[in-house]
């Protein structure tokens, strides 16, 4: 792809100028957290410099300005994910909190005999809250298995779904392997038996613009920090009909209508789920991050990242003994790999010394590692601000590591 404005984009990210261990930083751990463009950094500085105040309660000007900016961010996020109503966008501390919020709500609604389905490709944060929910309710946790390619076994899925299925939770994209899951098909099948679906969109949000209405998904959760925003903030999209049914997750200020010692009534959506002072600046900066990414354009981003993926995959596979885990046809710019006879931790340590940031380990997805019978992998995950030269730097570093460690 020749017309992608990579040089201009890189100038937006101050951190990309720094050196690590005396070498220019090559940041390939984007699936863990993305870097922050100056447009978002400026937004944060501006908030604290000009209109830092608590929201939704003060009558003073600053409070009003902060409230307006926060609600404007909610609206931007609504438009981005094409939610029908702004109150369907609940600010959270991140994907994990979004999932816990829904699991908490369902723990009051499920009973023994009910079944819920989790995919084998999940991050621990989309497994453990549901296990806790199942323990509390007696509902049964069933696993939608994976195939050697890193795809989900959709035939097995069809057999798993039945009249007892109440809830299905699957990630849009696997953080460990990069597989893009067929969520449309998963949702349709779940709907056919009246089950609700939660999609963990943490890994998808930086690459794909999800349309929650077109998907007809019940819950979609994301984190800002995976898509150029700050840490500690995210969003839960929930269909209004569901959010109205679920009990609040946390009690506190802001989520109430009236408080009496005899009884408290809850505020309406979205405030019912937003107890306490939220991450105001984070929410506003999340809006700025979404603006930034949309300015570049998700189609252009996806195409450019795909080109990086193809180039990196080809070049890495030329290294003797290197095996890539996750070879699904539909995948994002994530490459999980090992070299025969070498521990992923050793490779990660050496390439870090060469200035390259990759992730090593089980990537909070131990069931996937157990499936492949490996302790972990080295994972390089690319973003739209990475370059083809950085792909080459990775390949050279991995070769060097192999030479030292063999």
């Amino acid at each position: 792809m020749t017309n992608f404005p990579i040089d201009k984009i890189r100038q937006d990210f101050p951190i990309l100028q720094r050196k690590v261990n005396g070498k220019p930083l090559v940041y390939l751990d984007n699936a863990a957290t993305s870097q922050t463009p100056k447009q978002v950094i400026d937004c944060i500085v501006e908030y604290y410099s000009l209109y830092n105040a608590n929201i939704h309660r003060g009558v003073h000007t600053l409070s009003q300005e902060a409230t307006d900016a926060y609600e404007a961010a909610r609206e931007k996020i609504r438009v981005h994910f094409n939610a029908k109503h702004p109150e369907e966008i609940i600010f959270t501390s991140g994907t994990t909190e979004g999932i816990n919020l829904v699991a908490h709500g369902f723990s009051k609604r499920l009973k023994k005999g009910d079944e819920v389905i989790v995919s084998a490709l999940e991050h621990h944060s989309n497994i453990v809250p549901w296990q806790m929910m199942c323990e509390e309710t007696g509902a049964k946790l069933k696993v939608l298995p994976m195939l050697p390619s890193g795809d989900l076994d959709m035939k097995a899925y069809a057999d798993l779904v039945n009249a007892n299925t109440k809830l299905v939770f699957v990630n849009h994209i696997s953080n460990a392997l990069g597989t893009i899951n067929p969520i449309k098909e998963i949702i349709e099948k779940a709907k056919s038996v009246g089950a609700a679906v939660l999609i963990d969109g943490a890994q998808a949000a930086p690459h794909i613009k999800a349309d929650v209405q077109a998907l007809d998904v019940d819950f979609y959760v994301v984190s800002a920090h995976k898509m150029c925003g700050p840490t500690g903030v995210g969003v839960l999209y929930g269909k209004k009909t569901w959010l109205e049914k679920l009990d609040p997750y946390q009690g506190g200020g802001e989520m109430i209508d009236q408080v009496r010692f005899e009884q408290t009534t809850y505020a309406g959506l979205p405030h019912k789920f937003e107890a306490g002072t939220p991450n105001i600046c984070g929410g506003i900066a999340f809006g700025a991050a979404i603006d930034y990414m949309n300015t570049i354009g998700f189609e252009a981003i996806a195409q450019y990242e795909h080109d990086l993926l193809v180039k990196a995959t080809q070049a890495l596979l030329e290294i003797d003994g290197l095996k890539i885990y996750g070879t699904a046809k539909e995948k994002t710019s994530v490459i999980s790999f090992n070299i025969e006879g070498i521990h992923p931790y050793d490779i990660g340590t050496i390439v870090d010394k060469l200035g390259i940031a990759v992730r090593t380990g089980h990537h909070c997805a131990q069931p996937i590692m157990d499936y492949y019978e490996i302790p972990g992998t080295v994972r390089a995950s690319f973003a739209f601000y990475n370059t083809f030269e950085e792909v080459e730097a990775l390949v050279q570093a991995v070769k060097k590591a192999k030479e030292m460690l063999s």
Binding site: H343, Y345, T349, I350, K353, P375, G376, M404
Partner: protein, 142 residues
């Protein structure tokens, strides 16, 4: 037998011959090959050190008032690190192991491994070796 301090000074001396990190790492990997290996029967969860991305097992014996360590790891850099620790702590009295510092790791240019967040668990390894020493000291005093 040299004291812990003397052994650590010896290690620092060996590493000072190298002028870049690559050679230091290569030497550390080399040292890993001379690590007194733990017997296979002890390569179980009971002997595994928690907090490491790679697997590390350590076993300790108490012979003639001294602690004797054996260990292993499935990652060779980690194996090199544990080898450095075992070399400086093994065949020493419990009280000397408990009192010893591990500043030499910093001096040989492997400071980054001392960070408590570092996934190789060097800090956990040091703690575990000292725990063995404390346990044997308590046993000896009883």
């Amino acid at each position: 037998m040299n004291t812990i301090k003397e052994i650590q000074e010896e290690i620092v001396g060996e590493f000072s011959m190298f002028d870049d990190w690559m050679q230091r790492y290569e030497y550390m990997i080399e040292l890993g090959k001379s690590l007194p290996l733990i017997e296979e029967q002890y390569k179980t969860d009971d002997y595994k050190i928690k907090g490491c991305q790679s697997q590390v097992w350590v076993h300790a014996d108490f012979k003639e008032g001294k602690v004797v360590f054996t260990a292993d790891s499935d990652a060779i850099i980690t194996k090199g690190i544990i080898a450095l620790l075992v070399r400086s702590f093994s065949h020493q009295k419990p009280e000397d192991i408990i009192a010893a510092d591990t500043q030499f790791i910093d001096e040989i240019g492997l400071k980054e491994h001392l960070s408590p967040t570092r996934a190789n668990g060097l800090v956990s390894m040091i703690k575990q070796l000292k725990m063995y020493a404390i346990a044997y000291q308590a046993k000896a005093n009883n």
